[in-house]
């Protein structure tokens, strides 16, 4: 992916320098940036969100800007990651090209508010579906099932395969976090070492001061990506965090449309392709079985 992007950048540069028509340059860039095909002739029932967005030809998507593998802003200013690719798949189905999407950073604390205020058309931001949130917004999907996982030193010298193996081991997490509570409650034989941020857990693991680090696999994936020759992901999630796409409450047609699009992407392989080029490329794991969408 990265190589093709560099290739595309060089190709585009070469085209510009050669003074050729810019059309050729655009084609190269599109090929690199848009693995999904943008629908040409879209037709939606008048009055629906889909019709409005297709008519406007642009949409605003909220995503994380600091989550490697899912939504991480590149120096160029646009984010990249699995969430971003999923959003592009949905936009393409609306006839909106990736470059016509406006990306807005949403952090955990402001996602519901941004949807309610209409500052974003949808949120794809490692957004766990739960009943509290469903009071304020609706979720399409899930499109990915995250879960608490374990990161160990390269080669897994202690042979840790799951949370049961943490008994008597020194395991690191963040004080006050849900993963730390999970270990405390369900695996009390593990010794907890608690820092204030996960990067310190990574330092401690690299130094051999702790035996393992545990939190959501999405965060661990980013840490493994940072030092692939120091850390390994166990890859055996033991909690369930279904990630959904947040949309305004009550927009059932839009929700059904996104769910249809997701199922289509599961079947066509676009979903797996999106995984392989982003989070999968970072963690070295194959695309998991896509979760069944929940049409509640």
């Amino acid at each position: 992916m990265r190589i093709t992007r560099y290739a595309a950048a060089f190709a585009a540069l070469g085209v510009v320098l050669a003074g050729c028509s810019s059309e050729a340059g655009d084609t190269v860039e599109d090929a690199a940036d848009a693995p999904v095909e943008v629908e040409e002739n879209v037709d939606f029932e008048a009055g629906t969100t889909m019709a409005e967005l297709a008519e406007a030809g642009t949409m605003t998507v909220g995503t994380k800007f600091d989550q490697p593998g899912f939504g991480l802003r590149t120096p160029a200013g646009t984010p990249e990651g699995f969430d971003v690719e999923v959003a592009k798949i949905i936009a393409a189905e609306l006839g909106i090209a990736p470059e016509d999407i406006t990306w807005t950073e949403t952090v955990s604390a402001n996602r519901e508010a941004f949807i309610e205020e209409g500052r974003v058309d949808m949120v794809v931001a490692t957004y766990t579906i739960n009943d509290d949130r469903k009071q304020r917004i609706d979720f399409a999907g899930p499109y990915y099932e995250a879960g608490q996982d374990i990161m160990v030193a390269e080669g897994n010298p202690l042979g840790i395969q799951g949370p049961e193996d943490l008994a008597g081991k020194n395991v690191c997490s963040v004080e006050g976090s849900t993963p730390a509570e999970e270990i405390r409650t369900n695996y009390p034989e593990a010794q907890l070492t608690l820092f204030d941020v996960y990067s310190k857990c990574a330092d401690a693991l690299a130094n051999g001061q702790v035996d393992a680090v545990t939190t959501d696999n999405v965060i661990l994936t980013g840490l493994v990506a940072g030092s692939p020759d120091q850390f390994d992901l166990v890859g055996n999630p033991f909690t369930e965090e279904p990630y959904g796409i947040g949309i305004p409450k009550g927009d059932d047609e839009f929700r059904a449309f996104i769910n249809d699009t997701l199922e289509q992407a599961y079947e066509s392989g676009a979903w797996a392709e999106a995984w392989d080029s982003t989070a999968g490329a970072i963690s070295g794991t194959e695309a998991p079985e896509p979760p069944a969408v929940d049409r509640y």
Binding site: C172, G176, A180, T193, L194, A204, G208
Partner: protein, 215 residues
């Protein structure tokens, strides 16, 4: 009230951790700081240089950086210490620089005639420092040392970010688990620190009155 009863064991352990960390680091800082102060006024140039270097290094480095160095830096040169020990070392070594300067100011406050007189009756430098100068110096530095001590007790809170389950760490843990009772959590933690600092302040002012030199 139910909140305090439910979380009493956690808060008590956190309080005791902060207290023991403070006492151990305080002892280290007092001993090392006094030795450094003696070095700083000694007639031997290398010792003076060493002490000055130490004080300027630790006094001008943020405590968090000292923590990082001891907790994550030392293991890289194969000198790993536990998180609690490392935190005591970080706070103690850092505070020693301030103790050194406080004690030095006390030494300087002792009339030079005292040191000259002790030399005139044949005391060595070490003897005059131990028997004549330092006992008087410590009396004048009780208030500044009290300040250093109270600042140090509060500085131990940085250990919360380095895997020590002391009072501030319990604040992080409890405030996440009891978002509705944030004010109670804060109250409990503030009371914990005040138990240490206010009692110390009282002790310091009593000691100050007892050892005051009438000039």
């Amino acid at each position: 009230m139910q909140f305090f009863i439910d979380n009493f064991p956690l808060l008590r352990d956190a309080f005791l951790t902060t207290l023991s960390m403070s006492l151990l680091a305080g002892l280290l800082a007092l001993v090392l700081g006094t030795v450094l102060a003696a070095f700083r006024v000694s007639p031997i140039t290398p010792l003076r240089g060493l002490s000055t270097f130490y004080v300027e290094t630790f006094r001008n480095t943020p405590l968090t950086v000292v923590f990082f160095f001891i907790i994550f830096g030392l293991p890289q040169i194969d000198f790993a210490v536990g998180f609690f020990t490392g935190s005591v070392l970080a706070v103690g070594l850092y505070t020693a620089a301030f103790v050194c300067e406080a004690v030095r100011s006390g030494i300087n406050a002792v009339n030079p005639g005292q040191a000259e007189a002790s030399r005139a009756i044949g005391l060595t430098f070490g003897q005059s420092l131990r028997e004549v100068v330092l006992p008087q110096a410590f009396r004048t530095v009780v208030p500044p040392l009290g300040n250093v001590w109270i600042a140090m007790v509060k500085n131990t809170s940085i250990a919360a970010g380095f895997a020590v389950s002391e009072l501030t760490a319990s604040l992080q843990r409890l405030s996440n688990a009891n978002a509705g009772e944030l004010l109670l959590v804060l109250l409990a933690v503030v009371i914990g620190y005040m138990l240490i600092t206010l009692t110390s302040a009282y002790g310091i002012s009593r000691m100050e009155r007892r050892v005051a030199i009438l000039r």
